[in-house]
Symmetry: D2
Subunit: 93 residues, 4 copies
């Protein structure tokens, strides 16, 4: 079982929208849209992706990490380390 089971449909819908936004970016470049307008739209897509990532991370902390913490010991340490590494990648991306 995964941590995002409950809201899976919502995540799928959000990713569909992001896919549509990226297709929109493609159309903008294809039709020679003004650079700054393309950049504004890229920022919007990046924000949408980050919101998905933050949602997934919250679910993950609330499910997998809390569950592992209940077992304690090495399993908990490994899950915390893994989640912290994922946060570091998000902060740097």
């Amino acid at each position: 079982m995964t941590g995002y089971d409950d809201g899976k449909d919502a995540y799928l819908a959000r990713l569909k929208r992001v896919e549509g936004q990226v297709r929109g970016l493609h159309r903008m470049v294809e039709s020679d849209a003004y650079c700054i307008d393309v950049l504004t739209q890229v920022s919007a897509v990046t924000k949408a992706l980050q919101a998905v990532a933050l949602g997934l991370l919250t679910d993950h902390l609330g499910h997998c990490v809390v569950q592992a913490a209940g077992q304690g010991g090495d399993a908990a340490d490994a899950k915390v380390r893994e989640a912290a590494d994922a946060v570091a990648r998000l902060v740097r991306s």
Copy 2:
């Protein structure tokens, strides 16, 4: 004429790849992939989008801003302000 005319095909190809990556994210969530693996992939897509944005911005500075600077005065000021605002949105997204 837009600033990214030369490399337009390259940008279109990169955006097609990003679109494919987002579809890949959708498939991962659909098939209950492990949260952390989805997050790693979201970071990769965000990085790819930022690289496109930085490329567009460099082209824009080299074409539109430099051209406006040649004309000087208010036109140059307006282009610089617009580019700086785009950078601010990128840094904050």
Copy 3:
């Protein structure tokens, strides 16, 4: 008791270094250093601060969140929500 007790001295030393870096920025601007060199140094300070934040967050997840998870229920939920909000602020800053 706080979560960063073990490595407290290391965090204090890192923050002292960051303070010195910010003073260095002040000196650079005071002595009319080249803008781009100042910007490069600002990026270095921002990275150093983010590294401190990621360290603190990892410690926090490993101590406070894991401990709250052991108690379960609302306490765990509240800690997870709080940590997730802190991650969101880091990602957006």
Copy 4:
């Protein structure tokens, strides 16, 4: 002559404030402040530094890059490339 001559005092004042904020972080850790409160304050300092960086970059584009653009040719290209690299470092930091 540098590009931030006009607003130099304002930049110096802002950097003094950031230095004070970092000293505040040090005090927080020293007195065992709650991790999440320290993280919130780190985000505030990072935002303040980024605002300084965006200000410097805007000034730089408006002065050095516009001036180089007036001269055209390799000088303009070199300045644009340099500014774009600085933006890339900011976006990634």
